[in-house]
């Protein structure tokens, strides 16, 4: 249905959207989380307060909190149903506060990298 909300405002041209991964925000007191193989999704990095803490160099001094952004990238073409299956499997081991789908808009990533 057309309403003022969809007709009376500036529009940004749409680009084709491709689902390429999921950011999952995990809460744990046990340090940097390490993950099992989830098939359609593979862990790419873990960040804490936006700073990458896996893989690679991490200062011994880095203060971490109990909330980790974990970026999982798709290993093949995936659908929303694959995300549902993945999150159900993840929930068996990990407590998470939120998940954010990662989309490409055309050729451009619609998500930032970690520092």
């Amino acid at each position: 249905m057309l309403t003022k909300a969809t007709t009376g405002r500036a529009k940004r041209p749409a680009k084709p959207i491709t689902l390429v991964g999921v950011d999952v925000y995990i809460i744990t007191e046990d340090g940097i989380p390490m993950f099992d193989d989830y098939g359609a999704f593979k862990i790419e990095f873990v960040s804490n307060r936006g700073t990458k803490v896996w893989p690679g160099y991490v200062s011994d001094d880095l203060m971490m909190v109990n909330w980790y952004r974990c970026r999982f990238m798709a290993t093949r073409t995936v659908t929303d149903a694959d995300v549902d299956t993945f999150l159900t499997a993840l929930s068996k081991k990990w407590k998470w506060s939120a998940a954010q789908k990662l989309w490409n808009y055309g050729d451009e990533a619609g998500f930032s990298k970690a520092y």
């Binding site: 041209p13 307060r49 936006g50 160099y57 200062s59 203060m63 909190v65 520092y115």
Partner: protein, 336 residues
């Protein structure tokens, strides 16, 4: 090997010529420093494929202290800021920016001596951004309890050690009740341990207005990352602009001192830019490593040159080159 081994990061654009002038002045102060020169910034891309080479990271990790010239961060494209990467990598959580009136620079105010303590690792600088639809972008503002407590602790300790009387927490907790609310709550909790220092808070928009109307009323400000970024530049503008604005990024075990201005690539190689901001960052660095006498000598020398007004760089109303200005400071240091 000198008493102090310090990583020197000249940066790009005008950075190398500024840092060379600063190195000459600091060496003339008599402090025993071995400088370890390392690369950083856009010029590294072709050579190393990154703005921040591994060798540079290792040098900073080893020496625990660095001084840095300006670098440029590409806007809106792939590469992450080398500055922000360093702050995060080495957990340099306290950004300290003094804005002190240099007596000889004509300003509309008689007195400004403001210290800003900017939380340097959290807030909307956590780099958690998503395009959640083709028309909607979101950025997570991350404020944590331990991160807020430690910047407040740092500010109160610094204030106490340096005889400052008053600290205000700058926030927008009336609107962002969870994030800024947590930052303010942590500040108030820490303030209880320092009854000798007057603690208060002020909403960021009011603070901005008050800073330009009556800056003399402020002493120390503690701010989350984004407000700190903006208001510390405002404070720099009050006392003479970014050409005279030093900065320190301090963590529990590592510190990087840097000017806050850009690399001014259009002036690169012309040797005309003002090195004072990097020099004053060096002065902060010397005090941090307990070389206060050398720091005083440099600061007095610089103020003398500014007071004489004969050898000033273009931004301060003169025609002197970077090197001529540095030479004048070196000569003045021998007479103060």
């Amino acid at each position: 090997m000198g008493k102090h081994v310090i990583t020197m990061l000249p940066g790009e654009g005008t950075g190398p010529e500024i840092c060379e002038a600063v190195r000459r002045i600091i060496d003339h102060s008599g402090v025993d420093i071995t400088w370890e020169y390392e690369d950083i910034g856009l010029d590294c891309l072709d050579k190393y494929g990154t703005l921040l080479p591994e060798k540079t990271i290792k040098s900073i990790a080893k020496n625990k202290i660095a001084i840095k010239g300006p670098t440029t961060t590409p806007i809106g494209t792939g590469h992450k800021s080398a500055n922000v990467t360093l702050r995060k990598m080495f957990d340099l959580y306290a950004n300290v920016r003094p804005a002190k009136l240099i007596p000889v620079l004509k300003r509309p105010w008689d007195k400004i001596d403001i210290l800003t303590f900017r939380e340097n690792t959290e807030d909307s600088y956590a780099a958690i951004e998503h395009m959640v639809s083709n028309e909607v972008a979101q950025c997570l503002k991350v404020i944590t309890w331990p991160g807020s407590v430690r910047i407040a602790e740092f500010a109160f300790k610094w204030a106490k050690a340096n005889g400052r009387k008053k600290i205000q927490c700058v926030h927008k907790a009336n609107i962002m009740k969870m994030t800024d609310g947590l930052f303010l709550e942590a500040f108030r909790e820490v303030a209880k341990k320092y009854p000798e220092i007057e603690a208060g808070d002020i909403i960021v928009d009011n603070c901005s207005m008050q800073l330009v109307r009556n800056p003399a009323q402020f002493d120390c400000l503690v701010l989350p990352n984004l407000y700190g970024d903006i208001l510390s530049d405002l404070c720099a503008g009050l006392v003479g602009g970014l050409g005279f604005a030093p900065g320190a990024n301090i963590g529990d075990n590592c510190s990087i001192f840097e000017a806050v201005h850009g690399s001014a690539p259009k002036y690169a190689g012309m040797k005309k830019v003002n090195p004072s901001a990097v020099l004053l960052s060096g002065v902060m660095m010397l005090r941090w490593i307990n070389e206060g006498a050398a720091a005083d000598k440099i600061e007095k020398g610089m103020n003398k040159v500014l007071a004489e007004g004969k050898t000033l760089t273009y931004d301060a109303g003169g025609t002197a080159s970077t090197d001529q200005y540095a030479d004048a400071i070196i000569r003045a240091m021998d007479t103060v």
